[in-house]
């Protein structure tokens, strides 16, 4: 990065943190600090839920995923619009009616304290771990650019967010989300335009997609029903629906965002707009990754995209072996490029037989490249003594190697801002659950509002530090975007099962749902360890099991019904 990039990056970060603090008001009540006095309009909610979901991982890992695996990941989001509809019809009015600060408060009113406690605990566990991964993503970037140890960059990434989250509360979060999403959209559009601009003059946008498509990267839709396939239309629609419903309906980091709406209607419209915008946005991010893949068909890519382990290895006795792999890779890429140019010409001529022949040769060449990349990762891991995976570095390396000064700084800022948006919401949701569902409910009842606001600020600081510690161990996961989603799937289905039982199965009591949830969670964890199915289906399995077990337990061991209040 040169000085222009540094100025753009630092200026963007200072503006965001300063704007967040400027927008904060003196919060005297817990509703003001955690829910901005329930006063925000729909567009705040749309952008805030989008900024919360779209972490740095979205902008860093998704293009890398498209580069290695194609566009099929977009199907993961197909359940989201359907989930938004169910949320608008059921969850939003319920939470507003009960004037809940957290989603879990409702569960005590419907069931009992232990169900509220169990669900809150499951949330704290998975959210704290996945927030650690969200901090690790931008820390990785800073580590790579500055050459600093990941420990210091983890602290830096997590601490900047912590500052305005502790000071500003929900209002600051929402206003910064607006600004962050504006800058992020601008940055990603600029990146997409630049990739197309960097293609050879004779290769157009459509040509690039044709080349990438012939090499299997434009695979956005797969109608095959296969329980072991991670991404297809059915896993996206069914498994994704349950995951998204659970995430937006039961994860306090999202519930806390739409509870800031000034009315049921404003919260509904905010979520509905998210349902319309999310899939096109994710498609465009993946498209950038496919274009980067196409670009590297005409320009030799590095054998391994993360420069740090490569530089370390070159200082060890493994250097010779690595250089040998690099030479093989270079020769293979040159041969592949010649074939890609042939394919490009054949596509213009439209000769189907020759196109098929090129496609076959390129498919074999791509397999050899992947095999070499795997071999190099193994060698780097052996030489450095750490697990090496470069999926998350692909887009970053492209940015730093090929984009002009100023734009590099802007895109690094985009990735950091996306991180700040999701991590800020996570810190606040962890704090609100800790204070509202545990501290205020069971430890320090009947204290003043000022006391709980102070407790919320302290809890935010505590969780911030905890998540930074988790981030330190995040490098052991592969693609971070998948790691976050796998982790969520272990808990979300069960949590959703508890909420759906609360909304739709009115004869089932607290004891049955509590026991059903524990048994269901055990099944989900065992299914994951035994690798019985792709992770998206765990959401459906967990949800269905909780409802089934709770229904059976209620039948054989019925509990006297609890009367609901607040008009229920």
């Amino acid at each position: 990065m040169n000085w222009i990039d540094w100025i753009v990056l630092l200026l963007t970060l200072v503006i965001i943190v300063g704007y967040g603090i400027y927008q904060s008001k003196k919060d005297r009540t817990i509703s003001s600090y955690l829910l901005a006095d329930r006063s925000l309009p729909w567009y705040h909610i749309t952008l805030s839920v989008m900024a919360t979901q779209a972490s740095a991982v979205t902008f860093l890992s998704a293009p890398g995923q498209a580069y290695t695996d194609g566009m099929r990941f977009v199907q993961f989001y197909f359940g989201l619009p359907l989930a938004m509809v169910v949320l608008c019809i059921t969850f939003v009015p319920k939470f507003h009616t009960f004037r809940s600060v957290t989603a879990y408060e409702f569960l005590e009113k419907r069931f009992d304290l232990r169900t509220r406690g169990l669900t809150s605990f499951l949330f704290l566990l998975q959210r704290a771990l996945s927030t650690g991964l969200s901090i690790y993503a931008p820390a990785l970037i800073l580590s790579s650019i500055l050459g600093w140890d990941i420990l210091y960059t983890n602290i830096l990434s997590g601490a900047a967010v912590l500052l305005y989250t502790v000071v500003g509360g929900a209002r600051a979060l929402s206003y910064t989300h607006l600004l962050q999403m504006g800058i992020v959209t601008l940055g990603m559009i600029a990146a997409g335009v630049m990739v197309v601009h960097l293609l050879p003059p004779q290769v157009s946008f459509t040509d690039a997609l044709n080349v990438a498509g012939k090499m299997g990267k434009t695979n956005a839709i797969d109608f095959t029903f296969d329980l072991n396939s991670r991404y297809n239309v059915w896993s996206g629609l069914i498994g994704g629906f349950f995951l998204q419903l659970s995430y937006f309906g039961t994860d306090q980091s999202q519930v806390g965002r739409y509870l800031t709406g000034s009315s049921v209607g404003q919260s509904r419209l905010g979520l509905a707009m998210n349902g319309l915008l999310k899939i096109p946005m994710q498609f465009l991010i993946l498209l950038v990754g496919v274009l980067v893949f196409a670009f590297y068909q005409f320009t030799t890519p590095p054998l391994h995209f993360d420069a740090i382990p490569v530089n370390k290895t070159l200082q060890t006795p493994f250097a010779g072996q690595y250089r040998e792999l690099e030479s093989k890779h270079e020769a293979l890429q040159l041969a592949k490029r010649a074939e890609v140019i042939k394919l490009h010409e054949r596509l213009e001529n439209g000769d189907a037989t020759e196109i098929a022949a090129s496609r076959k040769i390129l498919s074999e060449a791509e397999k050899e490249v992947q095999s070499l990349r795997k071999e190099s990762a193994g060698l780097l891991s052996e030489a450095t003594g750490t697990v090496v995976n470069d999926v998350n570095y692909i887009f970053l390396r492209f940015i730093t190697d090929y984009l002009p000064a100023g734009l590099v700084g802007l895109l690094i800022a985009v990735i950091l801002l996306a991180c700040m948006g999701s991590v800020a919401s996570a810190y606040q949701s962890l704090a609100s659950t800790t204070v509202v569902d545990f501290y205020r409910r069971s430890i320090a009842k009947n204290k003043s509002e000022a006391h709980y606001v102070t407790a919320s600020r302290l809890a935010t600081a505590f969780w911030g530090i905890f998540c930074m510690v988790v981030a330190q161990y995040a490098s052991r996961f592969g693609s971070m975007i998948e790691a976050v989603n796998v982790l969520g799937s272990l808990f979300y289905g069960v949590t959703l099962g508890i909420f759906l039982t609360a909304f739709y199965f009115r004869k089932i009591g607290g004891r049955a749902v509590f026991l059903g949830a524990i048994i269901g969670e055990l099944f989900v964890v065992v299914s994951h360890i035994a690798d019985l199915t792709a992770f998206l289906w765990l959401n459906l399995i967990g949800c269905v099991l909780v409802i089934l077990f709770a229904a059976v337990i209620e039948k054989v061991w019925p509990e006297p019904r609890k009367q609901l209040t607040n008009g229920e």
């Binding site: 729909w42 566009m71 977009v74 197909f78 619009p81 359907l82 938004m84 509809v85 608008c88 019809i89 997609l209 044709n210 990438a212 498509g213 012939k214 299997g216 434009t218 695979n219 956005a220 839709i221 239309v233 009315s263 049921v264 209607g265 404003q266 919260s267 509904r268 419209l269 509905a272 349902g275 319309l276 899939i279 096109p280 498609f283």
Partner: protein
């Protein structure tokens, strides 16, 4: 404006219409992505 219409965008007459619109857009997107997959593969 009645309480139930608060937040309703001007291009729909009821919340139910908005929900149908969301589902219709999802179907349209799947169809477009299918066309994209088939066209470039």
């Amino acid at each position: 404006m009645t309480k139930s219409e608060d937040g309703l965008p001007p291009f729909v007459k009821s919340w139910t219409q908005l929900y149908y619109l969301i589902i219709a857009v999802l179907i349209l997107l799947i169809a477009l992505f299918y066309w994209f997959t088939v066209s470039f593969e």
